[in-house]
């Protein structure tokens, strides 16, 4: 369900154009230690909560807004990244999310959690993005390739299972792409629930508020998403995958 707040705001592209911003192109993926992410997203334990910061920003405290950005930029970015499966586009959408926060500063009312509000904005932007992609008929994972290649087969189908090829740990990147593709291939309703739960650690109650659906419905969508991923990734062993990625550390 869209909030009236977003419907009143201008389009994201229009915002960036009005501000004269241009995207500089895709960037190299960077990862961060979970401890850094945890420190970056601490809220109540260290300092004012998000609602207090937003109210302070509403009264003119730009430092409060900067702190809100630091707290939520990674979680929002990863949610957007896994939703649109495009880094540059995810960065643009991240800018749009915070731009809308800036534009809605005066009208903000602390009726719900700030995270619920800002992730609702992000989620609606992803829905818009998905509709635009459908309208442009961009190539999806299910879309068949050209005739010179294997026709009628999806990218995922053409990515071989690691076991069949005896892929060494060095090829873990390919596996990660497979997993990312599996998540991206989820229906949008299931994907957003899965990402908010898995990437952002939100409760089902908060997710229900963001997606404007009953909590039981949200749990069902999560179950469906897990079922689908369980089928898609049945052949993968997380321990082997973890062992093939020595630079990455598991989440606590």
């Amino acid at each position: 369900m869209r909030t009236t707040l977003e419907l009143e705001l201008p389009g994201a592209a229009g915002l960036r154009a009005a501000l004269g911003w241009t995207h500089t192109g895709p960037r190299r993926p960077m990862t961060v230690e979970p401890s850094t992410l945890a420190a970056d997203t601490r809220q109540k334990d260290d300092g004012p909560d998000d609602t207090e910061l937003m109210v302070a920003y509403q009264r003119g405290d730009v430092a409060a807004f900067e702190l809100l950005v630091r707290r939520h930029r990674y979680g929002l970015f990863n949610f957007l990244l896994r939703s649109v499966a495009n880094r540059s586009r995810a960065e643009e959408l991240l800018q749009d999310v915070f731009l809308r926060v800036v534009r809605a500063r005066k009208r903000y009312e602390p009726r719900a959690k700030f995270s619920t509000w800002v992730y609702t904005i992000a989620r609606n932007l992803c829905v818009d993005e998905s509709r635009r992609r459908n309208q442009r008929r961009e190539q999806s994972l299910e879309a068949p390739r050209g005739s010179s290649e294997d026709s009628g087969t999806s990218l995922r189908q053409r990515v071989p299972a690691p076991e069949s090829l005896g892929i060494p740990p060095a090829e873990a990147e390919q596996i990660r792409s497979r997993v990312a593709a599996a998540v991206a291939d989820l229906p949008s309703e299931q994907r957003e629930v899965f990402l908010l739960r898995q990437m952002n650690g939100m409760s089902f109650g908060e997710i229900a508020a963001i997606v404007s659906a009953p909590e039981n419905t949200v749990k069902s969508r999560m179950r469906y998403a897990l079922e689908k991923l369980r089928t898609e990734l049945a052949d993968l062993d997380p321990r082997e995958l973890a062992a093939s990625t020595p630079d990455r550390r598991q989440h606590a």
Binding site: L19, W21, R27, P29, M30, T31, V32, P34, L37, Y57, G60, V62, F65, E66, V69, R73, Y74, F77, N78, L81, R82, E91, L94, Q95, F98, L99, V102, R105, I175, R176, R178, V179, A180, V183, Q198, M199, S203, F204, N216, K219, S220, M222, R223, L226, L229, R230, L233, L236, P238, L241, A242, T245, R248, Q250, H251
Partner: protein, 343 residues
């Protein structure tokens, strides 16, 4: 694996909330039946795979630099507008806040002033000086027939005057009058005039007795005037009759006011050439505390004209100066009087 029953699905979904908490099968993990437990284990494996394969990625700091700059710029522009509008609104509110009390006070003050200083108010009538004026007004400013009595008396007095020098030629000037008289008048006539003036315009005085004396001096020539005087004269302290002559006080001299009537009396005496009597009348008005500034100016101007007629230029200049201070526009009246007398 067989599909789960609806009950199992419900328990499975309820267990999703705490799926990660019991990932490693802790001892206090909830006990589920085999199907649900097996499915939950599959879910945990999927979650572990996605955690490893999809780590949290970092967004470059410069991605949001422009957003922060935009937020700062908006706040930088907004306070000035807010302060200006708030200052303007505060100023407007404060001015409005003070406007109503000021207007209310102004209106109340105006009402008080109108009530206190309205013409014919008890405040005026209670002042001692006005008693004499009221008495003079009784003698002069009463209904038409009575008002003519002084004139008739004057006429009659004039008839009794020795025909020397014609009308208007002043007789002898008493010592108290600081005027040099070129032409002498019979002392008796001057005294009669003084008595008449004193009786009628003596302020606190003497009413019926003086009137009677003056009547006696005049003999039976003016019985009607005497009766008019007796009818109108009252003890000095009696101010009740003042109400008869009470009339709205006007800024300009008017025959309806006691001082106005005295002023006219003086003017008539002066025009008739009876400067001594006119001067006495004018002096009384000029020294009267309740007379308005314009009335006193007229009185001073009248004294100046009398002195001028009598050749007392210094005295005339002195009174003229006082008149001009009281009323800068008195010259016009003086010129008219001169033109009238020259005709």
């Amino acid at each position: 694996m067989p599909d789960l029953s609806p009950g199992e699905i419900s328990r499975l979904e309820d267990a999703l909330e705490h799926l990660d908490e019991f990932e490693h099968g802790e001892a206090d993990a909830p006990v589920h039946d085999d199907a649900v437990a097996h499915r939950l284990n599959d879910y945990r494996r999927v979650l572990a795979i996605t955690r490893v394969a999809l780590p949290q990625e970092v967004v470059d700091a410069d991605v949001l630099t422009d957003v922060l700059a935009h937020a700062r710029a908006e706040l930088a522009n907004e306070p000035r507008v807010q302060e200006a509008t708030s200052a303007a609104s505060t100023q407007r509110r404060s001015s409005i806040r003070w406007l109503f009390p000021v207007l209310a006070m102004a209106g109340a003050t105006a009402l008080v002033l109108l009530f206190v200083f309205r013409p014919g108010s008890p405040v005026q009538m209670s002042t001692p000086g006005l008693a004499g004026e009221s008495m003079a007004a009784k003698a002069d400013a009463t209904p038409k027939p009575a008002s003519h009595q002084p004139e008739i008396a004057d006429d009659q007095d004039r008839k009794h005057e020795a025909p020397k020098g014609g009308v208007g030629v002043p007789a002898g000037i008493p010592a108290e009058q600081k005027v040099v008289v070129e032409e002498a008048a019979p002392a008796a006539e001057a005294k009669a005039e003084e008595q008449e003036a004193g009786a009628n315009f003596g302020g606190l005085g003497i009413d019926g007795v003086a009137s009677e004396d003056s009547d006696k001096n005049r003999g039976q020539a003016a019985p009607s005037s005497t009766r008019a005087r007796r009818a109108t004269s009252k003890p000095a302290g009696d101010v009740s009759s003042g109400s008869r002559t009470a009339s709205p006080k006007k800024a300009k001299t008017s025959s309806s006011s006691p001082t106005g009537a005295s002023l006219e009396r003086g003017d008539k005496l002066r025009r008739a050439g009876r400067c001594a009597a006119a001067t006495a009348v004018y002096r009384d008005i000029a020294t009267h505390g309740s007379a308005s500034q314009a009335t006193r100016a007229r009185a001073e101007a009248g004294q100046s004209l009398c002195a001028e007629k009598q050749g007392a230029t210094n005295e005339a200049a002195r009174h003229l100066s006082v008149a001009r201070k009281l009323d800068p526009a008195i010259d016009a009246w003086i010129q008219r009087e001169r033109d009238t007398s020259s005709q």
